[in-house]
């Protein structure tokens, strides 16, 4: 059988990194949320913050584990799947990954132990400090990896000699032109996504009449976050797009479905791009709005897809539709933010069944938008791996297609199991809720053959395990 190693390597990388990013997106947001809750608890001494923080910490632990193991895979895949790319760019972005390990990974991995297992062993300030450090670590990790990724989109501060990139100016490498926008857009996306999950969980509890006090706090914090972060995301996204227009015009043309660069751009709300005919079918457009957004004048022009030779085109359809999915979700979330804020102002946030019901189904939206956004960005870069410098087909490892195909099958199989079980367990933890959870039994079942009598005795003597010490997930009970 013949396999195309480049295509397979791309599919494998796209699969493993799409799997990975779901968890960082959630853990970046959740670690910050938990740190804020613990700081609030320290400041107010109100135990509800502590209860909410502990509840989310259990979910965080499961998500973090999946993020770590899938991330370790990625760090090696640069070499296994993209060895020529690694050789080409190692001098320039290798050190950025090195800094990520030293400043971020150790920090989060080490203090995670205290955050997860330290609740009753250590003073609360140490646990709170660890939560802050973990949150800092995840954000720092985003900083470095996005810098590396942005360099692949908008390389700067380097020179190429004998087919290898060499650094000239580290500040220009790290703060390359698209990096500030990408960092802001991604970190904000992570906070937004997490806020939507928190919103959905709070709404679910309120609809079921459970954990009322905690849900009120979760709902308020989530709505506040969405009302600010969602509009902000639109602003950052717009600036990001302007930056892309400057550096990767063909990507923007594909996102907009804009074929003819001579004419002012319309905003294509919907349509089906046709690469053969070089036009959009069934297009619904707002005339001149594209020009207004991208050039800030009604008659301004900017390059269209047809202005570029076909071998420079990214996959138009994918970029076009992924972009609409992301922006569509972005607009929806802005609406949710305003709706929630309005209800809050009118004092009906906790009683509006419509709001609660629709919110309770929204939890996957942020993740979908993040994946869609990355598909726009990464597919829009094609056929380049490092924009303008190294083509994707030239970056691949000399590994037989059959090897890549068989490991790809293994990835799909194992990730499929891990992912579905992970979601199932997270769902179980959510169903168990903040209060109902006996300390050592997060899912309502004893960890170890702890006698039911012992449990009942604890309950009876009022030593509520829910409040007390003990790390829920993995602690041996004494």
């Amino acid at each position: 059988m013949e396999f195309d190693p480049v295509l397979l390597a791309r599919i494998q990388f796209a699969f493993t990194i799409s799997f990975h990013i779901i968890f960082p997106a959630f853990t970046i947001g959740l670690s910050a949320f938990i740190a804020v809750l613990l700081l609030l608890w320290t400041a107010t001494k109100n135990d509800k913050f502590h209860r909410i923080a502990r509840f989310w910490t259990k979910i965080f632990a499961v998500s973090f584990a999946m993020g770590v193991v899938s991330g370790i895979v990625l760090s090696y895949q640069f070499g296994t799947n993209w060895s020529r790319f690694s050789e080409f760019s190692g001098n320039v972005i290798g050190p950025l990954i090195g800094y990520e390990v030293l400043t971020a990974f150790y920090l989060e991995a080490t203090f995670l132990g205290i955050l997860l297992f330290g609740w009753n062993r250590f003073p609360s300030w140490l646990v709170t400090l660890s939560a802050v450090l973990v949150a800092l670590g995840t954000a720092t990790s985003a900083f470095w990896i996005l810098s590396a990724n942005s360099w692949m989109h908008t390389p700067a501060g380097h020179e190429v000699r004998d087919g290898i990139a060499y650094p000239l100016d580290w500040l220009q490498v790290v703060f390359n032109p698209s990096f500030p926008y990408r960092l802001a857009h991604m970190v904000n996306a992570a906070y937004l996504t997490t806020a939507v999950v928190v919103l959905a969980v709070g709404a679910r509890y309120l609809l079921a009449g459970r954990h009322v006090e905690e849900s009120h706090t979760m709902l308020r914090m989530a709505v506040g976050m969405i009302a600010i972060a969602a509009p902000l995301q639109l602003v950052i996204g717009d600036l990001h797009g302007l930056n892309t227009l400057e550096h990767q015009p063909v990507k923007v043309a594909a996102m907009e479905g804009h074929w003819n660069g001579e004419a002012p751009g319309d905003l294509v709300l919907f349509g089906i791009p046709d690469e053969e005919a070089r036009t959009n079918h069934y297009a619904v457009v707002v005339p001149h709005l594209g020009s207004l957004i991208l050039t800030h004048t009604l008659e301004g022009t900017y390059p269209g897809i047809s202005d570029f030779p076909e071998e420079e085109w990214p996959p138009i359809l994918n970029v076009f539709f992924s972009f609409r999915i992301m922006v569509g979700i972005g607009l929806l979330l802005i609406a949710v933010g305003f709706w929630g804020a309005y209800l809050w102002w009118r004092g009906r946030l906790f009683t509006s069944r419509w709001f609660l019901l629709s919110s309770s189904y929204m939890w996957p939206l942020g993740f979908i938008a993040i994946l869609a956004g990355w598909f726009v960005t990464e597919q829009g870069r094609q056929p380049w791996l490092v924009y303008g410098l190294l083509r994707t087909a030239d970056g691949v490892s000399p590994v037989p297609g059959a090897s890549v195909a068989s490991t790809l099958a293994l990835f799909v199989f194992i990730y499929g199991i891990v992912f579905s079980m992970g979601i199932y367990y997270i769902n179980r933890l959510i169903n168990a809720g903040p209060k109902d959870v006996p300390i050592e039994t997060p899912a309502g079942v004893p960890n170890r053959p702890l006698s039911a009598a012992e449990e009942a005795a604890r309950e009876a003597t009022g030593r509520s395990r829910g409040e007390g010490p003990g790390r829920p997930l993995s602690e041996p009970e004494g």
Partner: protein, 334 residues
């Protein structure tokens, strides 16, 4: 500058790999021992004894791999494709065992699947790490700076043997860790299996010490030529001495010393392998200097490393210290 930078980096990466082998070694070793422990409670204790650390331990693997990319991009770009299948296999095994740390607890009482995933993932990961080591020692085919061999070049009786040796070695670290950090049945388990594993490890070290010079001339020349011979013979002798001490300590019921001894034994074996391969990163083609990154890149990260690595070591030690003490079912964390 140009001359010693690659040497510094080789030393740093070597240190990261040594840290990884020791720290994740006992951690994976517990997975190797998992099938032997039958009681759920024993398995709980075993896992709990490393639960706060496993993530940090594995980060040394990222530093080792990432460091190789940063400092020696050419070596990274040759080694990874050459060892493609065992590397990906090891990563997948690490995925399964890594998630088991959390999944196993939230899945209770139906966690049997994650017991298997933890044990299976740890054993496969340990085995494949040994295979990768063996594959590297054997040598890798390179043409035009690219890997030029087939998909299964790494698979030889030698690499399978080193794979099994690493499984036994991690098992030894695991048993001695249990003796040090736990009490009761899990400690007994450690005591019961440590001597056997010690014998296996020493035996494997002897076999590898004979096998490599017999099959690879370069290694024979390194060890048996004069005057090297006189400088190098203390290493095997020291290994034998440490092996004997560990055995004595086990007999005497010491708790911490067997673990310390096992670490030293590992380090001696590691030093032996380093001596066999220096200065090659990709034997027998690429040396430290052939594969080095641009000096500017090596310096840029070195500056950070000088400040950050001690910090990392400091807080890693701090976390091990705050979690010190015995972990056992009777006397839990509070």
């Amino acid at each position: 500058m140009e001359w010693y930078l690659p040497v510094i980096w080789a030393g740093l990466i070597g240190t990261a790999v040594a840290m990884y082998v020791i720290l994740d070694g006992f951690d994976l070793g517990l997975g190797v021992l998992f099938p032997i422990a039958r009681e759920e409670e024993e398995r709980d204790v075993m896992m709990n004894s490393v639960a706060p650390f496993w993530d940090g331990n594995e980060t040394w693997l990222v530093l080792g791999g990432g460091g190789l990319w940063v400092a020696f991009p050419q070596a990274y770009a040759v080694i990874m494709p050459a060892l493609y299948l065992p590397v990906i296999g090891m990563l997948l095994a690490l995925v399964l065992r890594g998630v088991s740390f959390e999944f196993r607890w939230v899945a209770k009482p139906s966690h049997g699947m994650w017991d298997i995933a933890f044990a299976g993932g740890s054993i496969v990961a340990a085995f494949l790490q040994g295979v990768i080591l063996g594959g590297l020692i054997q040598g890798i085919e390179v043409a035009d700076g690219q890997y030029a061999g087939g998909a299964f070049d790494w698979l030889t009786p030698f690499s399978v043997f080193t794979g099994l040796a690493v499984v036994a070695g991690y098992g030894l670290l695991g048993t001695t860790w249990l003796i040090m950090r736990t009490a009761g049945p899990t400690q007994d388990l450690g005591r019961q299996y440590a001597p056997m594993l010690l014998a296996l490890v020493l035996g494997a070290m002897v076999v590898i010490s004979l096998w490599t010079p017999l099959t690879v001339d370069r290694i024979a020349a390194r060890w048996f030529s004069l005057p090297n011979f006189f400088f190098l013979w203390p290493i095997p002798l020291a290994a034998a001495g440490v092996g004997y001490l560990i055995w004595r300590w086990l007999r005497a019921g010491r708790e911490g010393l067997p673990f310390v001894g096992s670490i030293i034994l590992f380090l001696l074996g590691y030093v032996g392998l380093v001596i066999s391969t220096v200065p090659y990163l990709v034997p027998p083609h690429l040396t430290f200097w052939d594969a080095a990154a641009a000096p500017a890149s090596q310096i840029f990260l070195l500056i950070g490393t000088v400040f950050l690595l001690p910090l990392v070591l400091g807080y890693t030690a701090f976390v091990y210290w705050v979690f010190r003490g015995k972990v056992s079912p009777g006397e839990g964390y509070h």
